[in-house]
């Protein structure tokens, strides 16, 4: 909390939206802010009412650069918004930097207004920053899936330390606006018209499967790839991120990195000297560079040289030294020459012929430090790439320090 723990000494708090950003429809701005207030009203006795003129407790506005307080904004990026602790006058007010691109959904071309507003309103209610990674009151912006966004326990503990839990009857949404669930999803970059599967299939927020525990002995993966020195493990819509910079595993969703990609990959691999990762799902594949999806994708996997009889691939891994990518399909595997962009002659070959002791189908494959790691069920096989010799068998989730 702030010095002297300032709070609102009443349960009915008013807010007013003074102006709008041209980045979003007015209705979307209002909805994002109403949803942000509802996050806090659902865990406290507080009730938020919107007023349309005069002085409200919390005045909300968009401004660029200097805007009549001591904290000028700094153009695109950097500081996105700020807010003042409860109090009269400027107290409680929230300011948003108009030089940012405000968006309704979590994309990588802008900042989700709901997420930033929810954070700033935490300040407007008396919360300072939290150093708990993943908490809403953590100081840095974290693009996460907002469809069924929940407050972190740290945020709930903080705000209830100031106002207590909700009274049974008042745990209802804000008076002024009933919250709206997002009814459509706008991908960060519209997919091309060529493929019949442009629309993501997860358009209605049904209950997603829970993310398995890191150390679940039965944990298997859909796909695994390296990406700029990190290793990403995919299962359904979840991502386990292992970074050389941070010791603990970070949990994300595919949506939070690539909102327009459909969850549930079949395979993925990185061609690191091109800073490019390819994702495979059914008979299509996408190429991404960092967060952005290369234009012209998705493309049919037949473009890579697979016969039409191949409708999906199981796993893929790229060997940096030979510039060959191995695609595993059923009991066979293909070798793709990344330099010539063509499948090698003499393939497919039987996995059993060249990779003794490895069961199929292969769930996922990873290349790291000169070894292939081939995953089947809850086992992973460490293979010397040059000799194609099985070195050892480990548990699939051995990367998570279980």
């Amino acid at each position: 909390t702030f010095p002297h723990t300032p709070t609102w000494k009443k349960e009915d708090v008013t807010y007013r939206i003074l102006n709008y950003t041209p980045d979003m429809l007015q209705a979307d701005v209002e909805e994002a802010i109403a949803r942000a207030f509802q996050l806090w009203s659902s865990v406290t006795p507080l009730r938020f009412t919107r007023v349309y003129n005069g002085q409200a407790d919390i005045m909300i506005s968009f401004a660029s650069g200097f805007h009549n307080d001591f904290y000028s904004f700094d153009g695109p990026g950097g500081t996105l918004a700020h807010a003042y602790a409860p109090g009269s006058g400027i107290g409680g007010d929230a300011h948003f930097d108009e030089d940012e691109n405000w968006t309704k959904f979590t994309t990588y071309s802008g900042y989700n207004l709901f997420l930033v507003a929810a954070h700033e309103l935490g300040h407007s209610l008396g919360l300072s920053h939290s150093n708990v990674f993943g908490a809403l009151m953590y100081p840095t912006y974290m693009p996460v899936d907002t469809r069924d966004y929940q407050l972190h326990q740290d945020d709930i503990d903080g705000i209830q330390a100031l106002y207590g839990p909700p009274k049974e009857s008042s745990a209802l949404p804000t008076k002024a606006f009933p919250p709206q669930e997002p009814t459509e999803m706008i991908p960060a970059e519209a997919p091309t018209e060529t493929s019949p599967r442009e629309e993501p299939t997860e358009t209605t927020p049904s209950k997603p499967p829970q993310r398995p525990d890191d150390c679940d002995p039965h944990l298997t993966f859909d796909a695994i790839t390296t990406l700029r020195g990190e290793t990403l493990f995919f299962k359904d819509r979840y991502v386990w991120r292992k970074s050389p910079y941070f010791s603990e595993i970070e949990h994300d969703t595919i949506f939070s990195f690539w909102p327009s990609l459909i969850a549930g990959f079949d395979a993925a691999y990185e061609v690191d000297n091109k800073d490019r990762v390819l994702f495979f799902k059914d008979d299509q594949y996408w190429a991404v560079s960092g967060y952005s999806i290369e234009s012209g994708f998705p493309r049919p996997i037949q473009n890579l040289g697979f016969p039409t009889s191949v409708r999906k691939i199981d796993a893929a891994a790229h060997d940096q030294n030979t510039k060959r990518t191995y695609f595993f399909v059923g009991n066979k595997y293909w070798s793709f020459n990344e330099n010539t962009q063509s499948m090698e002659r003499g393939y497919p070959r039987k996995i059993a012929a060249d990779f003794q002791g490895i069961s199929h189908p292969v769930n996922a494959a990873l290349q790291k430090n000169g070894y292939f790691y081939i995953f089947h069920g809850s086992n992973q096989y460490e293979v010397d790439i040059k000799k194609k010799k099985l070195i050892r068998i480990m548990k699939s989730n051995s990367w998570f320090d279980c």
């Binding site: 702030f2 010095p3 904290y71 904004f73 990026g77 950097g78 500081t79 996105l80 918004a81 700020h82 807010a83 602790a85 930097d97 940012e100 900042y111 930033v116 954070h119 700033e120 300040h123 300072s128 920053h129 150093n131 990674f133 100081p139 840095t140 912006y141 990406l227 700029r228 990190e230 910079y245 960092g290 967060y291």
Partner: protein, 81 residues
């Protein structure tokens, strides 16, 4: 996905401004350069501790990386008024 920054001086300036904005760093020019650097190093330590980074007091890659992330304009330390 971090990409390594290049220009040291520019980074130092950026870090100073960051620490002034969010960690109540006040650059008081004293006669002793070493003392200046000490004060800044203290603030870097404070910021590293807040973000759970290894506390070294040095403006290393990871520390700079977090400083460059888009963020809220409210300071992280209590001196906010």
């Amino acid at each position: 996905f971090p990409v390594a920054p290049e220009k040291e001086k520019e980074d130092l300036q950026f870090a100073k401004k960051y620490l002034e904005s969010f960690y109540d760093f006040k650059e008081e020019k004293t006669l002793f350069r070493a003392k200046d650097l000490n004060q800044m190093s203290d603030k870097i330590r404070e910021m590293q501790s807040f973000f759970g980074l290894e506390v070294t007091g040095e403006l290393n890659h990871k520390t700079l990386d977090i400083m460059k992330q888009p963020r809220c304009g409210v300071p992280d330390v209590r001196s906010y008024s």
